[in-house]
């Protein structure tokens, strides 16, 4: 399956590993470099916790970054993530970890103000595009297209979007720097 082929450049710290800043303004308190990273073909995993402090885990389909927003949206399949979405609705707690499989670059965004909303047409289209980008990314390290599409299979009619404004960012690239705070 995976062939272990890796891109260079997994060493160093955030945000310099993301490359030069572009022209887009920061949104949702995040730099353009981080927003661009979230829109790449990255692996998106999420968590929340309920009132009893029980953690919930899930896999997300795409990140939505509105042009003028103060929040970012995370698309999820409702059927697969019912308990997690219930916890988000209950506590507003939400964590998103985005990892680029070919480089291991990883960042976690945490917020306390998350809300669950219905996905609009743009979010549904984003999810489909992200599956394509993720499949291309995983192909770099030897995963077949069928595997990735099975992993990311979802019903476009049952998508939810968790909206949140990240208040804390952490470097999560494996290594001794994992867990250090990243400037937005």
């Amino acid at each position: 399956m995976a062939n272990g082929g890796q891109r260079d450049g997994q060493r160093g710290g955030w945000p310099e590993r993301l490359g030069p800043e572009g022209g887009r303004p920061a949104r949702a308190g995040l730099s353009e470099a981080i927003l661009t990273f979230l829109e790449r073909g990255v692996s998106l995993v999420v968590s929340s916790s309920d009132r009893a402090n029980r953690p919930r885990v899930g896999r997300a389909l795409a990140v939505q970054v509105p042009a003028d927003g103060t929040w970012i949206g995370v698309c999820l399949d409702r059927t697969a993530n019912a308990a997690l979405l219930a916890a988000v609705a209950e506590t507003g707690r939400f964590a998103l970890a985005a990892t680029e499989p070919s480089t291991h670059l990883s960042i976690q965004l945490i917020g306390e103000d998350a809300t669950v909303t219905v996905a609009d047409a743009e979010a549904t289209a984003l999810a489909a595009r992200h599956v394509d980008a993720f499949a291309a990314e995983l192909a770099l390290i030897g995963y077949g297209d069928a595997f990735t599409r099975a992993l990311m299979a979802h019903d476009p009619a049952t998508l939810a979007v968790v909206r949140f404004c990240p208040s804390r960012l952490y470097d999560q690239t494996p290594g001794p720097k994992a867990g250090t705070a990243v400037p937005p």
Partner: protein, 449 residues
């Protein structure tokens, strides 16, 4: 999620998710409820109710589980992409011992596989109880591939095949035969321990250019040595660049430096670039009777199910070894000394390590060397050719440990080394506990202190 012990979905049923082929996701939360989510390179199956996670760095996940022991995992079945969630409760961290060592070996393979060999380092094995398992609803998993063989059937038939074996030679030979025929194994070794030094020496081999019979592995060295020391199966699913698990890199320098003179190391026959390795201890009661080792050039060749199957086979082999009757009940039978013609060959014995050289070529050392030296001495001075296991056991100059199969293992080793490396001497079994030394040229014996 429903309780793992009562639901139809068990941890054993989803073990393929825990091979390290696809990263898992772990979520925890701090005492104030702040969630944390990250990818996890290794989830290790311990038993039907427990998993262990690799502790490599003191990160937020670790801080959280020390304060709030509940974690949830999402794991992926590599062939189908089906996903499962597991709820866990943290119990403790182990930093030495069988669980730690088996995870450390496996992580070495995973780390090399994903290009993180300089980053991944196991600090501890975090043990968790599995409290619930569920299949993630929805999705569209791929059809499961058809298995190449039934490991349960292979195990049953392999155990049945071993049952009729009369002695250790047959047990070893049949074991390798069933590994090839029933399990599709192409490369295998059986090693047995020298109880005085703890080193393991190869007594049977399958699928190598040179058999390597007589090659040695130190306790704790490579997957074989760790399996022997910890008495736990050690399995690596991907080729590792970690030299700690490389056996073929050894050059015998340590041995040459010990005694001086010509090298006394038989090269280890293992594959140069194994992608999968599995070493299973063979226990006879509480005693280590040997190690069964298999390897392959194919990644992920040996799974949890293969490990269970070969552990079952090794358990059967250990029980049968323990039950072998002592093969030394027959009195010596004198035989006429056969004529040996031609130019003599020099057999040199080094007393320091009982190594024996034939015409300057290294043949054997240790207990097997001491046995050979006694045989050739008795042959040249007394004209004897027929010997018994009993007299070897009683011989004061042969330092044999307690158990009957130790002598038999040395004789098997000696017999196979002679067959491979010496055209002048050979050992033939002549009955239960009896054998004959066949000498085809005159021998000139030289003793060196």
């Amino acid at each position: 999620m429903s309780a793992a012990t009562s639901a139809s979905l068990t941890l054993d049923a989803i073990r393929a998710c825990l091979e390290g082929a696809v990263p898992a996701t772990i979520a925890t939360c701090a005492p104030d409820g702040t969630p944390n989510v990250s990818l996890l390179s290794q989830v290790h199956y311990v038993d039907p109710d427990h998993v262990a996670l690799s502790y490599q760095f003191f990160n937020k996940t670790r801080a959280n589980i020390l304060a709030n022991p509940i974690a949830v995992l999402q794991v992926i079945d590599p062939p189908t992409a089906a996903q499962y969630r597991m709820e866990l409760c943290y119990l403790r961290t182990e930093t030495t011992g069988p669980l730690f060592e088996s995870m450390k070996a496996k992580l070495a393979g995973i780390a090399s596989h994903v290009g993180m060999q300089d980053v991944f380092r196991l600090l501890g094995a975090d043990l968790y109880r599995v409290t619930a398992i569920e299949a993630v609803p929805g999705g569209a998993p791929l059809p499961a591939p058809v298995a190449q063989r039934s490991l349960l059937s292979a195990t049953r038939r392999a155990c049945e095949a071993l049952r009729g074996c009369a002695d250790l030679t047959e047990l070893l030979d049949h074991s390798l035969c069933v590994l090839r025929r029933l399990f599709g194994v192409e490369h295998a070794l059986i090693l047995m321990p020298d109880e005085a030094t703890g080193r393991l020496f190869t007594v049977a081999a399958l699928g190598y250019d040179s058999s390597g019979v007589g090659s040695e592995v130190a306790p704790g060295e490579g997957v074989i040595g760790v399996a022997a020391r910890e008495r736990v199966p050690i399995r690596i699913t991907h080729m590792t660049s970690d030299v700690a698990y490389s056996l073929t890199a050894r050059d015998g320098a340590e041995d040459a430096g010990l005694t001086g003179g010509p090298a006394r190391e038989i090269p280890f026959p293992g594959l140069e670039r194994p992608h999968s390795q599995l070493a299973v201890p063979i226990l006879a009661g509480r005693r280590l009777a040997g190690v069964l080792f298999v390897e392959s050039r194919q990644e992920m060749r040996f799974t949890y199910d293969d490990e269970d199957a070969l552990a079952t086979l090794a358990a059967q082999l250990g029980a049968l070894i323990q039950a072998l009757p002592p093969a030394e009940d027959v009195a010596p039978v004198p035989a006429a000394c056969p004529q040996a013609g031609g130019a003599p060959v020099v057999v040199r014995h080094y007393a320091a390590d009982d190594s024996v050289f034939v015409d300057h070529d290294y043949l054997i050392k240790g207990v097997a060397g001491a046995i050979l030296w006694k045989l050739v001495r008795d042959h040249t001075t007394l004209g004897r050719t027929d010997f018994t296991n009993r007299e070897l056991r009683l011989a004061p100059d042969i330092p044999l440990p307690d158990f009957a199969e130790n002598l038999e293992a040395r004789l098997i080793l000696l017999q196979r080394r002679l067959a491979e490396r010496c055209g002048v001497l050979r050992i033939e079994k002549t009955g239960r506990g009896r054998f004959r030394l066949v000498v085809t040229k005159p021998l000139l014996l030289q003793e060196t202190a």
